[in-house]
């Protein structure tokens, strides 16, 4: 019964936390650019306005994929808060990403197709790192369960810190921040053709925004697992990582998709593999 309550509270509270964080994001970004910036609750205004907009249907399949993007993201969050298997969480997150790609591919607009192809490149960049992160967790706790991470005394950050650095790259990609805002830019950036979002409008844009809030909370939760005991230090680390992303966003220009794949594989994958090899030699796990 208590598990059910945790799940309900997480599903209800996560959009508020995510929306509030993205409001802080827009405010901090504006201050870094020498502007005053919108009110903190501006993302909620945007969300409710989009819900009230008229529906323009270019493809009905797209709506199904957008809804499945939302549903799989909520499922990922439930896996995290109910302390389930982190490997399955990574696979579910991958399928959520693929749903969004299929939403982009299900219209006829070539801009949407370009965006979807670029989103695939992003998945290619971050998915192996997340998978190796799950292996890194296994090398320390001997299981893939999140409950075992929370039960263990030694923080993951002390033993597999290179994977933490790789995960920061994943965080930049997933938050759609420069230099990795390849498929579409984050809200604060203004661009001519909005990549994968080109054909998504009105209430469906609102659903994608809602999914991104869930995604933000989920990813910060995963970052917080690096210092799971006590958890409040982990949450502070996650918030610090969030602020770091805002700075990275504002001091970088957008790079090309190929550069993103090369960077995330050359830095992220190498860091993960070196860490895993080290622990394989030291502890003989796997």
């Amino acid at each position: 019964m208590s598990q059910l309550w945790i799940a309900v509270i997480a599903v209800v509270a996560a959009p508020f936390v995510g929306g509030f964080l993205s409001g802080i994001d827009r405010r901090v970004t504006a201050r870094l650019q020498g502007r005053y910036g919108p009110p903190i609750v501006q993302p909620f205004y945007d969300f409710f306005k989009l819900l009230g907009k008229g529906r323009i249907a270019t493809s009905k399949t797209q709506f199904i994929w957008i809804i499945s993007y939302l549903v799989f993201m909520i499922a990922c969050l439930l896996f995290l808060v109910l302390q389930q298997d982190i490997l399955l969480l990574v696979f579910l997150l991958g399928f959520a990403g693929i749903s969004f790609v299929l939403a982009g591919f299900s219209t006829k607009s070539p801009y949407s197709h370009f965006g979807a192809n670029r989103e695939l490149l992003q998945i290619l960049s971050y998915e192996p790192i997340l998978l190796l992160f799950a292996l890194g967790v296994y090398s320390q706790t001997g299981s893939f369960m999140i409950s075992d991470i929370l039960a263990s005394e030694a923080p993951l950050l002390a033993s597999i810190w290179p994977i933490f650095i790789a995960l920061l790259v994943v965080l930049t990609i997933k938050m759609r921040k420069s230099p990795f805002d390849i498929a579409t830019s984050h809200h604060g950036h203004q661009e001519l053709v909005k990549g994968i979002m080109t054909e998504i409008s009105g209430p469906y844009y609102a659903l994608v925004t809602l999914t991104e809030w869930y995604e933000l909370v989920l990813l910060l939760g995963i970052v917080a697992l690096f210092w799971a005991n006590p958890l409040w230090i982990g949450i502070l680390i996650a918030l610090a990582a969030f602020v770091l992303e805002l700075f990275v966003d504002n001091i970088n220009a957008r790079m090309t998709g190929g550069w993103m794949v090369r960077f995330s594989w050359a830095v992220g994958l190498v860091l993960c593999i070196v860490t895993l090899t080290y622990w394989w030699i030291m502890k003989g796990v796997f």
Binding site: Y36, Q42, F44, Y45, D46, T198
Partner: protein
């Protein structure tokens, strides 16, 4: 007064379209997005895509070429939507009035909500125009009296 109606007034995303103007007004529209004026304070964001926009900001007189593009863009904006004609040319045709290729102001093609005067219109006047359009919208959706 619902939360959706209140949000519609708080979050106008503008799309900017240049008919056949001298680009004077376009530069002023973009100037109002800079840190000096910072219209994002009011939730105003410049969108490149009509499907995401709420307010269509048009500069320059309508000619026979741009008329159908303008109509197409207007049709792609989901309801509720507003149109703001920025500058003397967009309002009446301006110095291009009665030219052989010019239809006239934007109101020859679209229902215009707010006219912003000036040649070129100053950023303050443009922001004032957007605020006027929002007041009109809030009256239409029943937020204000």
């Amino acid at each position: 007064m619902g939360i959706i109606q209140k949000s519609q007034v708080k979050s106008p995303w503008i799309m900017h379209f240049c008919n056949s103007s001298c680009n004077g007004c376009d530069i002023e529209v973009l100037a109002s997005l800079t840190p000096l004026y910072d219209v994002e304070r009011f939730g105003i964001v410049n969108m490149g895509n009509p499907k995401h926009a709420d307010v269509l900001v048009v500069t320059g007189p309508v000619n026979y070429r741009t008329a159908r593009v303008l109509k197409n863009l207007y049709d792609q904006i989901p309801d509720p939507k507003m149109v703001i004609a920025v500058g003397a040319c967009a309002s009446t045709g301006g110095v291009f009035h009665n030219c052989y290729n010019i239809l006239g102001g934007v109101d020859k093609v679209l229902p215009v909500d707010v006219y912003v005067p000036g040649c070129a219109a100053r950023p303050e006047a443009i922001i004032d125009g957007v605020v006027l359009a929002l007041q009109k919208l809030s009256k239409a959706v029943g937020v204000a009296k």
